[in-house]
Amino acid sequence: MAASFDLNNDGVVVIIGSGAGGGTLGNELAQKGVDVVILEAGARHEYEDFVNDEWGSFAQLAWTDKRTTSGDWRVAKDFPNLPAWIVKSVGGSTTHWAGASLRFQEHEFKTLSTYGKLEGANLLDWPITLAEMEPYYAKAEAKMGVTGTNDWPRLPGNNNFKVLKAGADKLGYKECHTGNMAINSVDRDDRNSCQQTGFCFQGCKWGAKWSTLYTEIPKGEATGHLEVRPNAMAIKINHDASGKVTGVVYADKDGKLQEQKARIVAVAGNSIESPRLLLNSASGKFPDGLANSSGQVGKNYMRHTTGSVYAIFDRPVHMYRGTTMAGIIRDEARHDPSRGFVGGYEFETLSLGLPFMAAFLDPGAWGRSFTTALDHYDHMAGLWIVGEDMPRAENRITLHADEKDAHGMPIADVHFDDHPNDTAMRNHAYKQATALYDAVGATRTFPTPPYPSTHNLGTNRMSEKAEDGVVNKHGQAHDIKNLFVSDGSQFTTGAAENPTLTIVSLAIRQADYIAAQMSAKTI
């Protein structure tokens, strides 16, 4: 039975956010007998509430609170108040994610040593290695039911995958399959297997795709040590004279400010909200925001080098049928500077329904060049490019100077400029993907610009030295030992892989560390 903790209970761990990082950390701690309150800004929608309707689901789940944008990325022009396509709901963006669960490559934890210094990039090695992460990756894969691990079969390939695979074969790519997906390929964990419904992004109505909403959270609640408090928007983290954090001020469902006392606070609001909260918690003692003696809070915002390529064929494809992202080519994920850029990228199948295709294929475009593409919607195949982008100090989240939200908290501004390495990588990927579809007989291809960011990373980065980043190798703030960061904002660099598996692995590892430190009474 779910717990209910008093606002004045200062023995609890307060976690802000219930997604991949926060939801996992909450359950892991609850399983160890630690009392946890998760403050979630959004409402609780169970999976039977999800809708197979792109705009309807967007209205139900997406984080649509106003943000502003700047920089040379096209999102700032096309979607100036929607820099990111992420979720405000219990389960966070694990309701919306596609399920791709890939381990990082060894060199991706050591980018500065591997790539060397790059002008305009703020590269840094992670304070942890792949070898240290491997046991946690294994735990995460087992928890999430990742296909292609633990003897779970991979998902069957849908039409979109079959086109991708045919092209991959023609181009000589070797590593192409239906991916490592946190989507049940067989019934397990009291959840259904994938029914190839095709609305992965709208929340899986079968519960086949792993989401903290119906895995970690109810499991944690069943221990009696976890309370998830929805419609609770964190505004500020308080601290005492010694600098230790003491509680979190949040706006409740009626907009009334409350303070939940805490022994430990873990921030897991995704890479825009987490630094926003730390910056908004500035005080006399910490004038630049909490955990910000390095000045790195909000900086090094990464979003992966992305883009899509859609192609039209003279015969039908029906790409939207079946698992959206169960298809991958990994050959370009290697680090091979002879291609003209450092780092690598993945190709993953992707499909949008007609309403979102109209909105995202070429935002702002009109006339026949655009509409004839949509006329052949059912003859389309598509893929997504996801590659490592360069951290840059100028790419950052800041508090808006004037504009405030409904609770009086300054809204976030998201600034992003592509690094030349990002642009070179994207252009390489566009060329390869176009060649891939041409090889299968595409009559027309569309190099499609990046969507509002789904992978938001790096704005409270992990570092060996306190002056280089915000948190240490356990996600613990360098400056404040009972303050943690538990989401993708702690990523030192972004790697080429979808981030969720690494976020979950880090949360499992962090739970071990927090519980050990609590037992030792060091925090």
């Binding site: 197979n52 079959k162 045919a166 419904t197 494809v317 029906h318 702002g364 009109w366 059912d378 299968v440």
Partner: protein, 176 residues
């Protein structure tokens, strides 16, 4: 190509609807835009019906899909009439925008231009205006989020209630 015949006074809407075979696609009668051939009409409350007829043509010229009937373009733009009823400044922007479009199109107005290319040429002159962007932006959801048009594009929409595609062709591609 949409041809507009302005109705003579006293010509009832019922009569118009009955006269299906006259070849007129869109007819303006009183406060409505009517498609006799397809038995639908769109009543305007705030905007002039001529403005609405031009908006429908403009909508088709912005996102031309020859296999999509006018009805769906009319539905896609009718929200502007509602908005205009609530917001005088918005109404003025639309009426002024259409008047400007007609002026730039010469004697016969925008709807008098025979070829899509001619009309697109006029639209290109105004594509940076808030008026054009309001119409175009509204269409992205207004047109493409109508469930009734999805089958025309071969998009099947909701699938959960049908058990997904696991037994309905998720992997039925045959030509590879």
């Amino acid at each position: 190509m949409v041809t507009i015949y302005d109705a003579k006074p006293g010509f009832s809407r019922r009569e118009l609807l009955k006269r299906g075979g006259i070849g007129a696609l869109l007819v303006i009668s009183g406060s409505a835009v009517i498609s006799p051939e397809h038995a639908w009409g769109l009543e305007t409350s705030a905007l002039k019906p001529e403005t609405m007829a031009t908006l429908i043509q403009m909508a088709r010229d912005i996102y031309p899909h020859d296999q999509v009937p006018d009805k769906y373009y009319a539905i896609a733009v009718k929200g502007h009439d509602e908005q205009a009823g609530k917001d005088a400044a918005y109404k003025a922007m639309l009426e002024d925008g259409i008047a400007d479009l007609d002026k730039k199109s010469g004697d016969g107005g925008y709807r008098g231009l025979g070829w899509e290319d001619q009309r697109v040429g006029v639209l290109k002159q105004i594509e940076a205006t808030p008026f054009f962007q309001a119409i175009r932006g509204g269409l992205v959801v207004g047109l493409y989020n109508q469930k009734e048009v999805w089958p025309i594009f071969g998009y099947e929409g909701e699938s959960y209630s049908k058990g997904g595609y696991i037994a309905r062709g998720f992997d039925d591609i045959e030509w590879l």
